[in-house]
């Protein structure tokens, strides 16, 4: 799968998650995701330092979308690894199709393919992974959990 395709998958999963976890951020989703994909490292580098003539709230975190994008990217990678074992027998190309199916980005082209479904155990693994990532990106426990639940919900209802 190309980087652009991967970005599309991440954006789709993130958008579906933001719709559930922070719908008020949807109007800014497009420019935010564009900025993220242009330089994903900027999320880790930015913030944390008090700025001269700023408002003085730089430590306070309130925007979910960038974190959701980062977590979605990691989850997609995680899913790829999880499904790789399952799809080993079906060949490498099936993995991408399965992930795309999971996040509703197959464009209806693979109706003939069997639907990729995550087991409850795998969903719980994704949830724990998302919470951990959210906390690592300085989300509060409450918001990290909200993000994880929304993300798992997006996957489960895919």
């Amino acid at each position: 799968m190309s980087a652009a395709q991967n970005d599309e998958l991440v954006a789709a999963l993130a958008r579906a998650t933001v719709e559930k976890a922070a719908p008020e951020e949807l109007p800014l989703f497009r420019p935010t995701s564009e900025a993220y994909f242009a330089d994903p490292q900027a999320l880790q580098r930015g913030g944390g330092k008090e700025a001269m003539l700023g408002f003085g709230v730089d430590a306070a975190m309130m925007l979910m979308t960038p974190v959701v994008l980062q977590v979605a990217k990691d989850v997609i990678g995680f899913l790829g690894q999880q499904l790789r074992e399952r799809a080993a027998a079906e060949g490498e190309g099936a993995i991408d199709r399965m992930i795309a199916k999971l996040v509703h980005r197959d464009g209806g082209e693979s109706d003939a393919e069997p639907a990729a479904e995550l087991t409850d155990e795998q969903l719980e693994q994704v949830r724990a992974f998302a919470i951990e990532k959210g906390r690592a990106l300085k989300l509060s426990d409450e918001r990290a959990t909200l993000l994880a639940d929304s993300l798992v919900g997006s996957l489960a209802t895919a």
């Binding site: 922070a22 008020e24 951020e25 109007p27 800014l28 420019p31 935010t32 564009e34 900025a35 993220y36 330089d39 900027a42 999320l43 930015g46 913030g47 008090e50 700025a51 001269m52 003539l53 700023g54 408002f55 003085g56 709230v57 730089d58 430590a59 306070a60 975190m61 309130m62 925007l63 979910m64 979308t65 960038p66 974190v67």
Partner: protein
């Protein structure tokens, strides 16, 4: 009880924007200190470019002009001038380096200033905020800019920054405001909070914080690049002791710049909050947003490193801005300290252009003192306004004044020139009585000047009632800055020329002995005070007496202002405020009347003395030069004595300002009595010493010199009399208070 009834009554807040901010002065002092250090570095670099042999040969050539063999005042003066001119030529080559270094510093600072917006944009991953991204936010910012009365800034944003914040940056003519993704979401979810934060950022632009802050920062970075870097390279082959000596001074300078910058920025944040709070209204979102801010780490180090005050302090200041009006001892100390760091370096630069020691000292003081006085003076004036607006007396300026003076005393210790030039600075001389007295004179003089400014502010604010006082405040600060400049210039010149002054005293002593051998005259100490060559040299400087006249008359001129009802809405941030400024008592006029009465008494006494001379001494004796000189000195001494008495009487009700005013007015009469005596004698024979015409034949130059002598020497005497009275009154007041309120037993 309803919750509404439980809410405290919100008083209209005093308007701190009614007065100029001290920000520009504080940053100006910092820039002066950095430029001063830069001057020294480039002088050092210039010295390293000239061979020691060449330097020594030049210095030896100048020694031939040494004044050590002079036996008369004239010889001493000529030799001093020749020596100073020779030394000035010897070091003239350094001026180009120093000026070139300053130009390089300022050009680099300008380049950095222009580059900072690009650097911030890159470092913070900012991109232009377009109408496609957030049309409602752009419209809101444009509306809020109009509300603040400024042009809408360029808008940038970082979609990935999750915090709900903003940032103002740029330079005059091209200001930018960066918004975060978090803040733009707030525009949709909590529009009042969005507006409160944007108003805060726009207030930084409106309050002119942005340009001056970044210029100060740019100057510091330029100093590191243009001065510290080449300086470090030249030090590589120097000894460890020298490198250590340079390093600790540079580290302290850096700490001073850093801490002052942070302190000023913290205060500017509060001003931005205040400006934003006005349109936000008492129930707006700003207070809520501030209350919800995360609490920063406590501890001294955390506090001084932060560029925003703690949220509870910001909230408290928005509700009650009165604590913003006084300056505070720490800021006053920093202003004094920073200002004098550059003094020696500026003197060194100017010494190649100005050779006369008093003028050199005056111009060096002129380069640094006004900014420092601006810092402290604005604080004093604002505090007086805040106090009088509430109907209470302004606070005493002693603590701030002492802190400021302590900074002035310590500043030269941090100067880079101390690396190689071992000078007897005030601090190093404190170990002996002489040095302690010099320091005491500097501290006392500066504190008195600040006390003068406080009294001026109090008198003028009372006189103006509710009228706005910007012009008067500017004039008061100008007079205070001029007087402090003259005082500091004269102080350092006199201190540097102690040995020459001793020589001058010997000259006046010899003059007294010569006259005393022929006719009766005043005691030698009085003669020396009246006729001291150096003192006369100083008081006849063109700036001395005009500044003294302004010091004496400016505060008392307030009594001539008619108090009229005025619109006082300018004094408050909120509607409905009422100024309670007490009116100016008619007693303020008393020093002028006391001076006039004392002056009239002098004219009577002068007439009596003339009558006594006319009938008591023979015509031959009256015609002697010694008699005329003795009579002149005696009359000036009498005028000074009268001014001393007038000063003491004026101080009884009017404090030291009263002392100055009364002695000045008495001095004007004294001058009239001294220079008008011959004319009076020409018209009324019994008043004459020698025959003369009944016409004004006194040369204007002589007349002006006498005026300068009588007014200046009399002012010093009047001030001394006033100090005695003020001190005695303070003691009496203390004893009375103790009698009325004896300390409780146990």
């Amino acid at each position: 009880m309803s919750s509404q009834a439980a809410e405290p009554e919100r008083r209209p807040r005093l308007n701190p924007f009614a007065f100029p901010s001290d920000t520009a002065f504080r940053f100006g002092v910092l820039i002066t200190a950095v430029v001063g250090a830069n001057l020294y570095v480039w002088q050092w670099i210039a010295i390293t470019r000239r061979s020691p042999t060449e330097q020594i040969a030049g210095a030896r050539a100048c020694l031939q002009f040494s004044a050590s063999n002079a036996t008369t005042n004239g010889q001493f003066s000529d030799a001093s001038k020749a020596f100073t001119a020779c030394v000035s030529d010897l070091y003239g080559y350094q001026v180009g380096w120093m000026l070139g270094g300053t130009a390089a510093l300022l050009l680099t600072a300008a380049a950095i200033m222009l580059g900072i917006p690009m650097w911030i944009t890159r470092r913070r991953h900012l991109r232009p905020l377009t109408a496609e991204d957030a049309p409602a936010a752009i419209q809101a910012v444009q509306e809020l800019s109009r509300e603040q009365g400024i042009r809408a800034p360029r808008l940038l944003w970082n979609p990935l920054d999750p915090s709900p914040g903003g940032l103002a940056f740029g330079h005059p003519g091209r200001y930018s405001v960066a918004l975060t993704g978090g803040l733009l979401v707030k525009q949709a979810t909590d529009p009042p909070a969005f507006r409160a934060i944007v108003r805060h950022e726009l207030a930084h632009i409106r309050n002119r914080d942005v340009g001056i802050t970044y210029f100060t920062l740019a100057t510091w970075y330029a100093f590191l690049l243009v001065a510290v870097l080449p300086f470090a390279l030249t030090l590589l082959d120097e000894g460890k002791l020298l490198i250590w000596s340079v390093t600790w001074r540079l580290v302290l300078l850096a700490a001073l710049v850093y801490l002052t910058r942070n302190a000023v920025l913290r205060s500017r944040e509060v001003y931005a909050d205040l400006r934003a709070s006005v349109p936000d209204g008492p129930d707006g979102a700003l207070r809520r947003v501030l209350a919800e801010l995360p609490r920063p780490a406590t501890g001294l180090l955390g506090r001084v490193r932060r560029v925003h005050p703690a949220p509870e302090r910001r909230l408290a200041a928005v509700d009650d801005p009165r604590p913003l009006f006084p300056l505070g001892a720490v800021a006053a100390f920093a202003a004094g300290l920073t200002a004098t760091i550059a003094y020696g370096n500026v003197t060194q630069l100017l010494s190649t252009i100005v050779t006369e020691p008093f003028d050199l000292s005056f111009f060096a003081a002129l380069a640094i003192t006004p900014l420092a006085v601006g810092v402290v003076g604005v604080g004093i004036w604002r505090e007086a306004f805040a106090a009088l607006a509430e109907g209470r007396e302004p606070a005493s300026p002693w603590i701030d004044g002492l802190a400021f003076a302590a900074g002035l005393v310590l500043g030269p210790e941090l100067a880079l020139e101390g690396v190689v030039v071992v000078r007897n600075t005030l601090v190093r001389d404190l170990t002996n009585l002489d040095g302690f007295l010099w320091a005491a004179v500097l501290v006392g003089g500066v504190v008195l000047l600040l006390a003068w400014l406080r009294t001026c502010a109090s008198l003028w604010l009372r006189a103006l009632g509710g009228r706005r006082s910007r012009a008067v405040e500017a004039a008061g600060l100008l007079v205070a800055a001029s007087a402090t400049t003259v005082f500091i210039g004269v102080f350092y010149a006199v201190r540097d020329l102690r040995s020459a002054l001793a020589f001058s005293r010997l000259g006046s002593e010899a003059q007294h002995a010569s006259v005393d051998a022929q006719v009766w005259t005043v005691p030698v100490r009085v003669w020396q005070y009246v006729m001291d060559g150096e003192l006369l040299f100083v008081v006849q400087k063109p700036y001395f007496v005009p500044v003294l006249a302004l010091l004496s008359l400016f505060p008392l001129a307030a009594v001539f202002v008619r108090r009229r009802p005025a619109d006082t809405s300018w004094a408050f941030l909120d509607p409905g405020g009422e100024l309670k400024t007490p009116s100016l008592s008619i007693r303020a006029f008393q020093p002028l009347l006391i001076g006039a009465a004392a002056g009239f008494a002098f004219l009577v006494l002068a007439a009596v003395v003339r009558l006594g001379m006319h009938y008591g001494a023979s015509a031959e004796t009256r015609a002697l030069d010694a008699t005329l000189l003795s009579f002149y000195v005696s009359m000036v001494a009498l005028a000074i004595l009268i001014q001393l008495v007038a000063g003491a009487a004026g101080a009884w009700r009017g404090g030291l300002v009263g002392a100055l005013g009364a002695s000045f007015v008495a001095g004007c009469f004294g001058w009239l009595g001294v220079v008008g005596g011959p004319t009076a004698g020409g018209c009324v024979t019994p008043l004459s010493l020698n025959p003369g015409p009944c016409a004004w034949t006194i040369e204007s130059t002589f007349s002006w010199h006498v005026f300068q002598q009588v007014i200046a020497e009399g002012a010093i005497a009047g001030l001394a009399g006033g100090l005695v009275v003020v001190g005695a009154k303070a003691l009496l007041h203390r004893r009375t208070a103790e009698d009325l309120h004896p300390a409780a037993a146990g």
